[in-house]
């Protein structure tokens, strides 16, 4: 009994509360997006949040040792699924989805977690001297490059870019010599033209549109233009719940997924948006505090990896709807409608809670 209480005491409740708050905001936002109906989005989102919570609790309570030992196999499995996507996948044009029972599932999202775990395990096993050598970093780069390549050929520019930046972030935190950073940056710049030539026309168009949004207000620039109108017209306190004219009258596209932050901004204004960002800030801060407290390198790296992933989601989405970044298709974690992203976030947070309750576990204990 005491053991259970001790366990519960170690759970980061602030993080749990903020997560719950955002999930509720998400449900209400989806309720508004369907003009005041639980159907079709809010209801299903809540259902998924329930499944996500079960997953989160499961991951939080299992011994961290298990996760450590399964991490390579998980990544291997994820890569296998990505490889098999062109055969078993569904979807017109871009093959990103597989069907599991009633759910359509996007394997590239949980692949991010798999990469984080694999990288965390790999760097846990490396000695500080090893870290200084180039050879030590080749395997992680391959671990990143393979899923990245598989996702970019789907083609999914947004997810692959976030996967790349997020996992490079983990390597960076793990500790990489400064000269490598310079080399990597140089390589990235050299890669750009190659990447560009691989882009599809609609992807290029989105980037052009981003650079000059006024050129095409009824075509691709429409989304950005309408999003800015919706946000701007919301003002300080917004037009009120269910009162956003841009959203309710369908001027705002994709208001239930990528542009949900815009809809909240139109209905609850600057204040509403800042409250949401504050909740995310609390989550990110508590993850970083947990990472600092963790004894094991594995836990610390995976928590930081999750926080980087979350931050990228949030930043790319908000920057996109406010017109700072091109429209790449990034959901707002916990709020946007979409099962895979939500489950991925719950799995990631489960991992973080696991790290928090196991912060006393050291790397040596993991190896047993």
């Amino acid at each position: 009994m005491n053991l259970v209480f001790a366990w519960l005491f170690r759970v980061p409740w602030v993080l749990v509360l903020a997560t719950g708050f955002l999930a509720m905001v998400g449900a209400l936002a989806l309720f508004s997006a369907s003009e005041g109906n639980w159907f079709p989005w809010a209801e299903r989102q809540l259902y998924r949040a329930g499944i996500g919570t079960l997953l989160l609790v499961f991951i939080a309570v299992i011994p961290v040792r298990w996760i450590y030992s399964w991490s390579y196999i998980i990544l291997f499995g994820a890569v296998l699924i990505l490889l098999a996507l062109p055969i078993i996948g569904i979807g017109a044009g871009a093959t990103r989805w597989i069907a599991i029972g009633p759910f359509n599932f996007q394997p590239s999202e949980p692949a991010k977690i798999a990469i984080i775990l694999a990288l965390a395990r790999y760097y846990t096993s490396q000695s500080p001297e090893n870290m200084q050598s180039v050879i030590a970093h080749i395997l992680p780069l391959i671990c990143i490059a393979v899923p990245f390549g598989l996702v970019i050929i789907q083609p999914d520019l947004g997810t692959s870019a976030m996967l790349l930046v997020g996992s490079l972030g983990v390597i960076f935190v793990a500790g990489i010599p400064k000269r490598f950073i310079a080399v990597l940056a140089g390589l990235a710049v050299l890669m750009l033209p190659v990447l560009w030539s691989q882009l599809y026309d609609y992807q290029k168009e989105r980037i052009f549109t981003f650079l000059q949004p006024q050129s095409d207000t009824l075509g691709a620039g429409y989304q950005i233009a309408q999003s800015k109108i919706a946000l701007g017209s919301g003002g300080m306190f917004g037009k009120g719940f269910l009162q956003g004219s841009q959203s309710q009258l369908n001027y705002l596209p994709e208001k239930q997924t990528d542009f949900v932050f815009t809809m909240i901004g139109e209905e609850f204004g600057f204040v509403g948006n800042v409250v949401i960002l504050l909740a995310y800030f609390i989550i990110l801060m508590s993850i970083l505090l947990i990472a600092v407290k963790c004894k094991s390198r594995f836990c610390r790296l995976s928590a930081i990896g999750v926080s980087i992933m979350l931050f990228l989601y949030i930043f790319v989405n908000v920057a996109m709807v406010t017109g700072i970044l091109p429209v790449v298709g990034a959901p707002l974690p916990l709020i946007s409608y979409g099962g895979t992203a939500m489950l991925t976030v719950f799995i990631g947070l489960g991992m973080v809670i696991n790290a928090a309750v196991n912060s006393h576990v050291s790397d040596n204990e993991l190896l047993i």
Partner: protein, 626 residues
């Protein structure tokens, strides 16, 4: 740091530039729709309808909701009658405007068509019904030149006021009173502010400012008198032939002129003195109240059916009106220009008296012609009138007398008198495209012809020919001013309801006008009066003046061979027949001007028309008293 950047961006959008984005959002969300106002109606002086609105249903279409236009139109064509012209117009309208704006498919649906389309409307995606108004003119062509007509906004209107484009049912007054009184007849458009979603579908009505109907107007016209005067003028002095007669049907096949009249709705066929089948007379009659200036009748024939323009004028009808040999769209009463001929003699006589170049009793000898310079000027009576004084010069309409006094008076003084009596200037009657006519003087000649005035031209002006041009309404005003004697009467189309308008004083001595009146009276009851057969003794008598205006110069050879009778000349070469008059003589009430184009002579054609019209007026007034 990146997080702070995001908050900063949100601040920029949501606080700093919020107002700007709110405007953009409103522009997205709301659509202002204008609601048509029923046009003000026109009534005659007795409250009889001249122009009204009938409620009609129109079928509109929302192009945004029609996937396959050709199939849609084909389906509609099975239900209602659509001409190739209609189809072409619909396609043009669709191409001209954004696809969320309605296009009129057909207005004025019949009950049958309405029922058919209404039943099938659930499967006709994009079909919309609207109640609209159609302008109707119950008197048709008889009052067309008074009421004018309305028609849909054209490209020019739209470029002036782009909002008109979105009002397919709107009609704009094009001529007549419809045009002049457009601002008050049109009323105020209503406004509906409608919330629209991204697909252009209305969600709810937010604001509803109802349309304000246009102001109804009572015109001074008396429809019964108008009808009588119209019929009387058109008949002239010929006999009416029933249309059904075999010979009429045959003539219609051969005679383009007759056919032009019949196909534009004028089915009166006459037989002239020579037994020929001819169309009705053309010309103008204007009856004016000499105290109030109210126009009691304004006839201009041939005319057109203004109802044709209320919808969309078909090309066929437009062609018929355009190719009609006698310009039915011209309101001859205000826009037709005619030399006044002998009806101008009062002006010349008055100017001469005022100038003191002659006294009423001075006699001038008429020997049938007058040598001046190298030219010979003829009197209409080749045998000459002998000695004539002022009164008998009017009575007998002696031309020689006027050649001589005109020369003595000079063109500038004649011009001055003519202008005071209302000639040579627009009368401000309130009808569009009114012509000013021409009353020449020395400056006018220099400015318009670039050469100085010559005395020979004064001679011709003395009998109201040469450069002198007037409109029938000006002649009526001139007569009214002479009859009134005190006020410079200004004509009006609007009923004054017993109120006396405030006219300026007529700056002509009453003694001079008394001489004119005496002469005009003699025209009707003098032994030699040119219209002595057409006095109206039962109702207090008429004072008038005939005019016969040459339209083609008579050459010396023709004069020597003997002038051909009007009736035997081609219609276009016959003289215009004019007559001006007022009645009753001692207590004048009405003045009239009658112009019969190529009608022959003033005394035999125009004077009897005026006589019958006066008789009609006074007889019906007497009937109403009893």
């Amino acid at each position: 740091m990146l997080g702070a950047g995001l908050v900063g961006r949100l601040y920029q959008l949501q606080i700093a530039q919020s107002e700007n984005y709110q405007l953009l959002s409103d522009k997205n969300q709301f659509d202002k729709r204008r609601v048509l106002a029923p046009r003000g109606r026109l009534f005659d002086s007795h409250g009889r309808l001249l122009a009204g609105n009938s409620e009609v249903f129109e079928l509109n279409m929302l192009p945004a909701r029609v996937a396959d236009l050709d199939r849609w139109l084909a389906n509609v064509q099975k239900l209602i009658d659509l001409s190739p012209d209609d189809i072409e117009r619909i396609k043009k309208d669709i191409a001209d405007q954004p696809d969320f704006l309605e296009v009129t498919v057909k207005s004025g649906l019949t009950q049958r068509e309405l029922a058919r389309v209404a039943i099938l409307s659930p499967v006709l995606e994009g079909a919309l019904f609207h109640k609209s108004f159609r302008r109707i003119y119950p008197q048709g062509w008889m009052t067309a030149h008074v009421t004018g007509y309305v028609s849909p906004a054209n490209q020019k209107d739209v470029s002036k006021n782009p909002q008109l484009r979105y009002l397919p049912g709107l009609r704009i007054g094009r001529s007549g009173v419809e045009h002049t009184l457009e601002p008050s007849l049109a009323g105020q458009l209503g406004v509906e502010r409608i919330e629209v979603n991204a697909q252009g579908k209305p969600v709810r009505v937010l604001e509803d400012k109802p349309a304000e109907a246009g102001v109804d107007v009572n015109l001074s016209i008396d429809v019964e008198l108008q009808a009588f005067a119209t019929e009387r003028l058109r008949r002239g002095k010929s006999d009416v032939v029933p249309l059904q007669k075999q010979e009429v049907q045959m003539a219609l096949l051969q005679n383009d002129e007759l056919r032009a009249h019949v196909t534009t709705g004028d089915t009166l066929i006459l037989r002239d003195e020579r037994g020929r089948l001819v169309p009705p007379e053309s010309g103008a009659v204007t009856v004016i109240d000499i105290h109030t200036g109210e126009i009691k009748a304004m006839v201009s024939v041939p005319s057109y059916d203004p109802n044709l323009f209320s919808g969309r004028l078909s090309l066929r009808d437009w062609k018929r009106l355009n190719e009609h040999p006698r310009t039915p769209m011209l309101n001859r009463a205000v826009s037709g220009l005619y030399a006044p001929g002998s009806t101008f003699k009062m002006v010349v006589a008055a100017a001469a008296l005022e100038a003191g170049v002659i006294s009423p009793s001075n006699k001038i000898k008429c020997e049938g012609s007058f040598e001046f310079g190298r030219r010979t000027f003829h009197c209409w009576n080749e045998k000459g009138h002998g000695f004539v004084d002022m009164v008998s010069s009017l009575e007998r309409s002696c031309d020689i007398y006027y050649y001589q006094i005109a020369l003595k008076t000079g063109i500038n003084r004649i011009n001055n008198m003519a202008k005071r009596l209302g000639l040579g200037e627009v009368t401000d009657i309130g009808l569009p495209s009114e012509q000013a006519g021409i009353i020449p003087d020395r400056d006018w000649k220099q400015e318009n012809k670039g050469v100085p005035w010559t005395p020979g031209e004064t001679v011709v002006a003395g009998i109201g020919q040469g450069f002198v041009l007037t409109t029938p309404v000006q002649l009526a005003v001139m007569t009214a001013r002479i009859a009134n004697g005190k006020k410079a009467v200004i004509p009006t189309m609007q009923a004054q309801n017993g109120q006396q308008p405030d006219f300026a004083d007529l700056q002509v001595s009453e003694d001079i006008l008394a001489m004119m009146k005496q002469g005009m009276r003699k025209v009707m009851n003098g032994t030699f009066g040119t219209a002595r057969k057409y006095d109206l003794k039962d109702y207090g008598g008429i004072a008038g003046k005939t005019g016969t205006v040459q339209v083609k110069r008579i050459s010396k050879e023709q004069r020597e061979k003997g002038i051909i009778d009007n009736i035997d000349r081609p219609w276009k070469e016959r003289d215009h027949a004019l007559f001006v008059a007022y009645a009753p003589v001692n207590n004048p009430r009405y003045a009239i001007s009658v112009v019969v184009e190529h009608g022959g002579s003033g005394s035999s054609m125009a004077a009897p028309i005026a006589h019958d019209i006066f008789e009609y007026i006074f007889a019906s007034e007497q009937r109403q008293k009893i």
